[in-house]
């Protein structure tokens, strides 16, 4: 299957996020690699996803899961070679799968040659590639992001006897984008991968590129100017490639990263994610409606990216203190589950392995406006291991079957980069791809059907959304519309059966057709449309005027 020629392809994407290390080990060293990943591409195609987003695979001391890059233009030896990557890219494209890779612009590893040079002498030409100071008092008041591990955004460098600036771990010095040479170096790196054929970049930590005294050092105009410059060159030389922003900010602040359609093509909608979890626990649609009402419109050529879980903690930065306390109390009662300002758990354990709630949340993910991202393993209900430290508990090996090492690797189990999930509820013997492929009612089979349905109607990816706001607040109902395509989505967020009356007078005469079973429901008339829903049940109706 060839890639479709459509510069707006990212709007119709269903993204599968995975880590090379965690997906499949082909050479038995206990670490996943590109050859293994390539072997498993059929699975992603079978699932219905059409885009792969890979976590960093560059050479790195791996002190931040690869986000501490030591060399931007090759592959970490554990994951294979550059040729292996090229083969993977070709195989993906041959299957109609696009590939998004990570680009960490904000900082490097302290092991990167640039930093090693920069710290070697104050006179080194690379010195000005990073942000240095003789004191640690500049940019006072700028928040610390990794509050569990960092006390300051400045760290003393004993080699060059000065402080360097870092918004994340102290081993990740921030690059100095006030130096044009840094920008040019980054663009060269991007060109390297674009020339190879990657379809897009997820730009990590974009709000923090530039620092200015007296500001929060986030979302500064100078940062936007840099993004605009990247986008301009991308459109000029690589049309059809995509930029995805990681900006963990409020929607109004993230909106700026779309610019006038001349910055990012897509950006994560961070605040929506915790509110989906909150709404299900509260059994109340308020959090979702509230945040989407606050979400400003974005340019026509842009798209939100939405997700339930990812490789990081379930971030609670974009919630109020009261909301955060609530999320902790409800989803992270064991303090080991908490890290930084978030919760390091996977979807299934957070839902207490309740299939109905897992389905409901995935139903929301696939039906809300935006490009959905599925985190590897969540499609089969994988568990986590909160005792592994940092966020490694949600980065354990993919569970392919119930055999040796879950089919992930043929290495000795002790050699695996991470222990497998092996408990009696989420263990690979119980939760794995092979066993779920065998049954039509498995979560995996259900996910395939869900994604297939979504992919069948462009209204999901490009249509408008309008809330219906029935009086029953436990029911979240909305209409997605694109031209003549109209979809009604009704979600029961509560654990009990609900009746709801929907005001669909505007659609009088339409026949709702349930989209999974294709069953006809009574035609909409003058009266409010009465529906009953079981606990956590949801309906997707295609509205047809026949």
């Amino acid at each position: 299957m060839a890639l479709q020629e459509d510069n707006l392809w990212y709007k119709d994407a269903v993204i599968y996020q995975t880590h090379v290390r965690a997906f499949c080990d082909s050479n038995g060293d206990g670490i996943g690699d590109f050859v293994g990943l390539t072997q498993r591409l059929d699975y992603l195609q079978e699932l219905g996803t059409n885009t792969v987003w890979l976590l960093p695979f560059y050479p790195s001391p791996l002190r931040d899961d690869g986000y501490d890059i030591a060399d931007y233009t090759t592959v970490h030896p554990s994951y294979g070679t550059l040729d292996d990557f090229k083969a993977f890219l070709t195989a993906a494209h041959n299957r109609g799968l696009r590939v998004i890779i990570e680009m960490v612009m904000n900082h490097t590893s302290d092991q990167h040659p640039w930093f090693q040079e920069a710290r070697s002498s104050r006179d080194n030409p690379k010195r000005d590639w990073y942000v240095w100071s003789d004191t640690d008092t500049k940019y006072q008041g700028v928040r610390i992001i990794f509050i569990d591990t960092e006390l300051s955004n400045w760290t003393w460098d004993p080699v060059s006897k000065s402080y360097y600036w870092h918004r994340f771990f102290s081993h990740q010095p921030d690059l100095n984008f006030d130096n044009p040479a840094v920008f040019e170096a980054m663009w060269e790196i991007m060109r390297f991968w674009l020339d190879m054929g990657v379809d897009g970049f997820r730009l990590d930590a974009v709000p923090y590129l530039v620092e200015r005294e007296g500001t929060s050092c986030e979302n500064l105009p100078e940062t936007h100017a840099i993004i605009k410059q990247v986008r301009k060159r991308l459109d000029e030389f690589y049309p059809g490639r995509m930029l995805l922003a990681e900006a963990n900010q409020w929607p109004a602040d993230v909106r700026a990263y779309f610019g006038d359609g001349d910055e990012f093509h897509t950006a994560f909608h961070f605040p929506l994610m915790p509110r989906m979890f909150m709404a299900v626990k509260l059994e109340d649609r308020k959090p979702i409606i509230e945040i989407l009402d606050q979400t400003p419109p974005i340019p026509e050529n842009c798209q939100w990216c939405i997700f339930l879980r990812n490789h990081d903690e379930l971030t609670l930065e974009m919630v109020t203190d009261i909301e955060r306390d609530y999320m902790y109390d409800e989803y992270a009662t064991d303090k080991t589950m908490r890290i930084n300002l978030g919760i390091r758990r996977r979807l299934a354990p957070m839902m207490e392995n309740d299939r109905r709630r897992i389905e409901l949340l995935n139903g929301l993910l696939m039906s809300m406006p935006g490009t959905p991202i599925v985190y590897y393993g969540d499609e089969i209900g994988m568990g986590d291991n909160i005792y592994l430290g940092d966020r490694n508990g949600v980065r354990t090996p993919m569970q392919w079957n119930g055999g040796t090492n879950a089919g992930f690797s043929f290495a000795d189990p002790e050699r695996l980069y991470s222990p497998l999930i092996s408990n009696s509820v989420y263990g690979y013997q119980v939760v794995n791809v092979d066993s779920q492929r065998r049954f039509g009612h498995s979560l995996l089979s259900w996910m395939k059907a869900l994604i297939k349905t979504r992919n069948s109607y462009r209204v999901f990816s490009r249509g408008t959304m309008e809330f219906l706001r029935p009086s029953n607040h436990r029911v979240l109902a909305y209409i997605r519309e694109l031209g003549n395509e109209k979809i009604l989505i009704v979600n029961n967020l509560s654990s009990s059966a609900q009746a709801v009356e929907l005001d669909v007078q505007r659609y009088k005469g339409y026949i709702p057709i349930e989209m999974f079973g294709r069953n006809l429901f009574p035609r909409f008339g003058d009266l409010p449309y009465l529906l009953t829903l079981g606990p956590y049940q949801f309906y997707w109706f295609r509205l047809r005027r026949i």
Partner: protein
């Protein structure tokens, strides 16, 4: 179990949408729709700030404004202009607003019954009832009332107000000391516009077969409080603050006030006869919140008019008073009426004796009960005149001490009421 047929289909539909709640606030009024809407907004704000995780609903019960009652039916889920983030408010959940109108003649009793029924169907753990005036001016009261019922398992929460020493005189001189002496619990404000209750008490009251009784229809709150006391529900009081003046600036007619309160109290004595007769002394109830001092700024009162109405009333109502009061008591009152303004004193002893005789006569229906209560009006004016004269220059503390003595006098004379109550009707010529 609530009588579901009592509720309108529209209300039932709204309750279905709300589902189960932790807290319910009833706004009980015959005010205009705008007043009710403002009150609902104010209550919502209080709930958003104080009960961020709880499932809450507000029910506005108003017989006169049903025609536009649906305009604010649903709120708090991100409707335009209702954004909790922009307001700095914190509630995590939708705050449901329900409106209940009546087709027939509304009454406070009917309204309370609607609230109780709603509370029962919504399985609210605690419920507060407030007036629109109060909830608009002092929204934090709602939270203060709800907390003891919701968090501390109290079944009945009565308010305590900060008042000028010459405000709330009916409560100070009659309602409080008499209910305290008879029902044995020191709850100062059984007749108030706001109170809270638990689901247990709400269900208990809902199942009582009293809703057709006029005293319950007109002043259901005291009946609820007395029911809580006599059935040994856990009662408490909570300091709220200064009671806002009535919205229109003028209080209701005194005759009507006494009819609704004193008449109501006399009726309660009948319906809870066994309970009050068995009780001896009185016990304090737990009281929460910072105490508010009684204020004592100068106040304009037309005293001459009061004593004149008392004296005229004693004279003109003598035939009626003769049928209500004993000869000794009537003589005592007449001698008070004969005093001039400067030496005028209506003693606590005489006041209590007189009231107990009124209560007994009400019980024995010696005359039309409504007329009986009306006959009390001029005598009450005399007592109040005397009270103001006695305490116009005293401190709040001294006045409190005198009030306590009056309460003790009510308790001391309780056996006299019991005796008169049990005695047959004394036929007087």
């Amino acid at each position: 179990m609530a009588d579901e047929t009592f509720l309108s289909d529209d209300l039932l539909r709204q309750l279905m949408s709300v589902g189960e709640v932790d807290l319910l606030v009833g706004i009980l009024s015959h005010s205009s729709a705008n007043t009710m809407r403002r009150a609902a907004h104010s209550v919502e704000k209080s709930l958003q700030q104080n009960f961020v995780r709880q499932r809450v609903a507000i029910i506005s019960v108003d017989g006169g404004t049903a025609e536009d009652s649906d305009s604010d039916e649903h709120s708090g889920d991100g409707q335009p202009g209702n954004n909790s983030y922009s307001k700095g408010l914190n509630s995590l959940r939708t705050i449901h607003r329900i409106t209940a109108g009546f087709n027939g003649a509304p009454s406070p009793g009917l309204a309370l019954r609607t609230i109780l029924s709603s509370s029962d169907l919504l399985r609210a753990k605690a419920c507060a009832v407030v007036s629109p005036a109060t909830s608009s001016t002092a929204p934090e009261w709602v939270a203060n009332l709800l907390r003891p019922a919701f968090r501390d398992s109290f079944d009945f929460v009565a308010p305590l107000y900060s008042r000028h020493k010459f405000q709330g005189l009916l409560a100070r001189n009659l309602l409080y000391p008499m209910t305290r002496a008879l029902f044995g619990r020191r709850i100062r404000e059984l007749y108030s516009d706001e109170w809270a209750f638990s689901s247990r008490l709400g269900s208990y009251c809902l199942n009582e077969d009293v809703w057709h009784e006029e005293p319950v229809r007109s002043r259901p709150e005291a009946w609820m409080g007395v029911s809580a006391i006599t059935s040994d529900f856990r009662c408490c009081q909570v300091y709220l603050g200064e009671k806002p003046p009535p919205p229109d600036g003028a209080g209701p007619d005194l005759v009507e006030v006494l009819r609704q309160t004193v008449g109501n109290l006399f009726w309660l004595l009948e319906t809870h006869e066994q309970s009050w007769m068995e009780r001896k002394d009185s016990e304090p109830v737990p009281t929460f919140g910072p105490e508010h001092a009684v204020t004592a700024e100068p106040m304009e009162i037309n005293r001459a008019r009061m004593i004149e109405m008392f004296q005229t009333g004693v004279k003109e109502l003598e035939p009626i008073l003769k049928s209500i009061l004993s000869n000794e008591t009537l003589a005592g009152i007449q001698s008070v009426a004969a005093l001039d303004q400067h030496s005028f004193r209506f003693s606590a002893e005489l006041w209590v004796t007189m009231l107990y005789e009124f209560a007994a006569s009400y019980h024995h229906s010696v005359i039309n009960r409504d007329h009986l209560v009306q006959a009390l009006v001029p005598l009450y004016r005399g007592k109040i005149y005397s009270f103001i004269e006695e305490y116009s220059d005293t401190s709040a503390r001294e006045m409190e001490a005198a009030s306590e003595n009056l309460c003790l006098e009510f308790e001391r004379q309780k056996p006299y009421l019991t005796e008169k109550w049990k005695a047959g009707v004394e036929v007087k010529s």
